[in-house]
C-alpha cells in the first residue's frame, strides 16, 4: 500500500486530467454489470419467445415494476443509512387495506383516504426511527415486530371480509390501470431532461474550468448528453408505440429522480451516506444523526404505503394476502442487485430502477416462456448472489489497487 504514497503524478494527484470526474465514471462503471445482465436477460428471453421485447409486454413489465420499484426506493434509503426495514411488504398491504376500506366502505374522499393510508405508513416508520434512535433496539427486530403488527392490522382493517374491492370508476383505479402519458408529453419531458442535463453539464464544466479544476471536454459532455437522449428517448418512443409510459411508471421515475438529487446534491443526502459509512464520524461531524435515521425510516415506510395504495388501484382491490414477506425480500434483493450496499454508505436511488428492472425482466420472461412458477425465485436468487459477488469482488480489487 505504500506505492500510492509516493504518488502517481507527483503533485497532489488530483491534477490528473481525469481526476475531476473520477467518481462519476466510477458510478457508471458500477452499474455496468447490471446493465449487461439486463441486456443478456432480454436477449435470452427474446430468443425463447419473440413477444418478450414487444412494446406491449414492455409496457406491462414497467407497469408491474413501478410499485415494487417505489418500495425498493424506500428500501434503498434505509439501507444507505445502514439499516433495514423488513416490514415494507406488510405496511404496503396495510395501506392498501386502509385506502380500500376508507373509499369503498366508509365513503371517504379519495384524497383523504390516500393521505390517511400514507400517514399510517409514515407513522410506522417514525415509530421505528424513534425506537431505534432513543431506545437502541436493532432495526432488524423492530421492523420484524412491525411486520407482524402490520399483518394483523391489515386483517383487522379488512374484517369481517378478506377482500375489499375498489370501484372501477375510482380515480385511483383509473390512474393505476389506465393512466398513460400522452406521447407528446412523455417525449417532451425527455427533451426537457436532455436539454436541462446538457445545459447544466456545460455550466458545470465552465465553473470547473474557471476554478482551474479538471473538467470533461466539450465533446465528452456532448457525447454523454447524446447518450442520455438516446437512452431515454428510444425506450420512451418504443413504449409509445404501444400504450406508452404509465402514470405509475412516471411517478416512480420522478420519485427516483428527486431522491437521487437529494442524495447527491444536498447536505441531507451527504449526511445519509456519511451515517451509513461511519455513524460515529457523522455524529462528530455535527450531522443530526437521530433525525436522519427517523427521516429515512419514515420515508421508507411512507413510500411502501404509497406503493400499497397504487397496488390496490392496479388490482382494484385490497385483500389479506397483499404485500407480505416475499415483497419485502424482493425489494431488498432489487436494491442490492441495483448496487446498493447492505452495509450502508454506498448506493444510489437509481439502483431501485436497475434492480427492479432485472427482477421483473426475469419474472416477465419466465411467465412468457411458460416456466414453472417455482423457477422465478430460484433464478432471482442466483442473480442476487451474482450481484453481491460482483460487488464484493470489485470492491476488494479496488481496495487492493489503492483507489
Amino acid at each position: 500500500m505504500s506505492a500510492p504514497v509516493v504518488g502517481r503524478a507527483g503533485l497532489p494527484g488530483a491534477h490528473r486530467p481525469d481526476a475531476g470526474w473520477m467518481r462519476g465514471s466510477d458510478r457508471d462503471l458500477r452499474s455496468l454489470p447490471v446493465l449487461a445482465a439486463l441486456v443478456a436477460l432480454a436477449l435470452v428471453f427474446q430468443a425463447l419467445n419473440g413477444a418478450y421485447l414487444s412494446a406491449d409486454n414492455l409496457v406491462n413489465l414497467t407497469q408491474q415494476a413501478a410499485t415494487t420499484g417505489i418500495i425498493t426506493l424506500g428500501m434503498v434509503l434505509v439501507l444507505m443509512v445502514g439499516q433495514v426495514d423488513l416490514s415494507v411488504g406488510a405496511v404496503s398491504g396495510l395501506a392498501a387495506a386502509v385506502v380500500a376500506v376508507a373509499v369503498a366502505r366508509a365513503g371517504w374522499p379519495l384524497v383523504v383516504a390516500v393521505v390517511a393510508a400514507i400517514a399510517v405508513g409514515a407513522a410506522f416508520g417514525a415509530g421505528y426511527g424513534w425506537m431505534y434512535t432513543r431506545l437502541g433496539v436493532p432495526s432488524f427486530v423492530i421492523t420484524l415486530a412491525g411486520l407482524l403488527v402490520g399483518i394483523g392490522l391489515q386483517v383487522q382493517v379488512l374484517a369481517p371480509v378478506a377482500t375489499v374491492n375498489l370501484p372501477y370508476e375510482s380515480s385511483l383505479v383509473r390512474f393505476a390501470q389506465q393512466a398513460f402519458l400522452h406521447p407528446a408529453v412523455s417525449l417532451g419531458v425527455v427533451a426537457v431532461v436532455v436539454v436541462g442535463h446538457g445545459t447544466l453539464a456545460v455550466l458545470e464544466r465552465r465553473r470547473r474550468l474557471a476554478a482551474q479544476l479538471p473538467a470533461r471536454s466539450l465533446g465528452a459532455v456532448l457525447l454523454r448528453t447524446a447518450g442520455l437522449a438516446v437512452g431515454l428517448g428510444l425506450p420512451v418512443w418504443y413504449l409509445n408505440t404501444s400504450r406508452g409510459v404509465g402514470g405509475m411508471v412516471a411517478l416512480f421515475i420522478g420519485l427516483v429522480w428527486v431522491a437521487d438529487v437529494v442524495l447527491r446534491r444536498t447536505r441531507w443526502g451527504r449526511s445519509v451516506r456519511a451515517i451509513g459509512s461511519n455513524v460515529e464520524s457523522a455524529r462528530r461531524a455535527g450531522f443530526p444523526v437521530r433525525r436522519v435515521y427517523v427521516a429515512a425510516f419514515t420515508a421508507c415506510a411512507a413510500l411502501a404505503a404509497l406503493a400499497g395504495v397504487l397496488q390496490a388501484g392496479r388490482v382494484a382491490a385490497a385483500h389479506q394476502g397483499a404485500g407480505g414477506a416475499e415483497l419485502t425480500l424482493t425489494a431488498i434483493a432489487a436494491a442490492v442487485i441495483g448496487g446498493t450496499s447492505l452495509f450502508g454508505g454506498r448506493g444510489s436511488a437509481w439502483s431501485a430502477v436497475l434492480g427492479v428492472g432485472v427482477i421483473h425482466a426475469i419474472g416477465s420472461g419466465l411467465t412468457l416462456v411458460n416456466a414453472d412458477g417455482s423457477l422465478r425465485p430460484i433464478v432471482t436468487g442466483v442473480v442476487l448472489a451474482l450481484a453481491v459477488t460482483v460487488d464484493a469482488v470489485s470492491r476488494r480489487s479496488r481496495a487492493a489497487n489503492g483507489r
Binding site: S2, P12, G13, A14, G20, A211, R267, S281, N401, R403
Partner: protein, 251 residues
C-alpha cells in the same frame, strides 16, 4: 516565547468516579510550535485530548484562547474557537471521497445544493499546502493508505483556519514510511503558523518534531522539557517516575 500563547490550559482537573484522570494540569501552546504530550498508558493523555477537543468538560480549571477564558462545551464550539482535533481513529467515512470527507459536516453550499466546485478547489489547496499526495481527491477514502488518510484527516482539521491543531497518536498504526510522511506533515503545519499539540507514546516521533515536551504521569504534569536540549533519558525518567524532575522551558 515573547508572544502570548494561542491556547493555555490552567489547572485542569478531571475525575472519572474515584479515578483522578487529570490533576491541576497546565499547558501552553504558541503559534509556530509543536508541543508534544507524552506519558505512559493511563497517564491522562486521552482525557487531555478530550478536554481540548471539547468532547469532555473538565471538573475544574480553565481554558484560555487568545487571552479569553472559554468553556469548551462541545467539539463544534472548540472548532469555532479555533481548536481542531484529529482523533486517533481519524473519524473518516470510508465510502466517501476525499473532498466529501474534508468538508464533512461543514459543506459549502450554493443555495440549497452543495457547491462541489468550491469544495474541490479548497480541498486541492489544503492538500497542496500540506504537500499531501492522494491519487485523486475523488477517490473514496477506503482506497487510501494509512498515511494518506492521516493527511486527509489533518487537512480536514485545517478547514476553517483553526489556530491550534491537536493530533492524538497520529502515527500509532503506521509503518516507517508513512510515519515519516506524517511527521513531515506535522512540521509543515507548524511552519504555516499553527500551534500543534502532538499526543504520542512514541519517543522517536516526539524527538523528531517537538519543540517542547510535556510529560504526564498519573494525571499530573511531571516535567516540561525543551526538546532540543533534553535527553531521552530525562524524558523517560519523567514518564516512568524513576527520578522525577522539573527543568527546561517551564510554562
Amino acid at each position: 516565547m515573547t508572544h502570548p500563547p494561542v491556547m493555555s490550559l490552567r489547572g485542569i482537573t478531571h475525575s472519572f468516579g474515584a479515578v483522578r484522570a487529570l490533576v491541576d494540569v497546565d499547558l501552553d501552546v504558541h503559534a509556530h510550535e509543536v508541543v508534544a504530550v507524552v506519558g505512559d498508558n493511563g497517564a491522562g493523555k486521552s482525557t487531555l485530548v478530550g478536554v481540548m477537543s471539547g468532547a469532555l468538560v473538565p471538573d475544574a480549571g480553565e481554558v484560555v484562547v487568545d487571552g479569553q477564558e472559554v468553556l469548551l462545551r462541545s467539539p463544534g464550539l472548540a472548532r469555532q474557537l479555533g481548536i481542531a482535533t484529529v482523533f486517533q481513529d481519524l473519524a473518516l467515512c470510508e465510502d466517501l471521497d476525499v473532498v466529501e470527507n474534508l468538508f464533512l459536516g461543514q459543506e459549502v453550499r450554493r443555495g440549497p445544493v452543495l457547491d462541489e466546485v468550491a469544495m474541490e478547489r479548497e480541498a486541492l489547496r489544503l492538500l497542496a499546502q500540506l504537500s499531501a499526495r492522494v491519487p485523486s481527491v475523488r477517490t473514496p477514502v477506503s482506497g487510501l493508505s494509512g498515511g494518506q488518510r492521516q493527511a486527509v484527516a489533518v487537512a480536514r482539521a485545517l478547514v476553517g483556519e483553526p489556530r491550534v491543531l491537536v493530533l492524538d497518536e497520529p502515527t500509532a498504526a503506521l509503518g516507517v514510511t508513512q510515519t515519516a510522511e506524517v511527521l513531515n506533515l506535522v512540521e509543515r503545519v507548524r511552519d504555516r503558523g499553527y500551534g500543534v499539540v502532538l499526543v504520542s507514546q512514541n519517543m522517536a516521533d516526539v524527538q523528531a518534531v517537538a519543540d517542547r515536551v510535556v510529560v504526564l504521569r498519573r494525571g499530573r504534569v511531571n516535567g516540561v522539557f525543551d526538546a532540543a536540549s533534553a535527553s531521552y533519558e530525562d524524558i523517560i525518567a519523567a514518564i516512568t517516575g524513576v527520578s522525577p524532575q522539573r527543568r527546561g522551558g517551564a510554562s
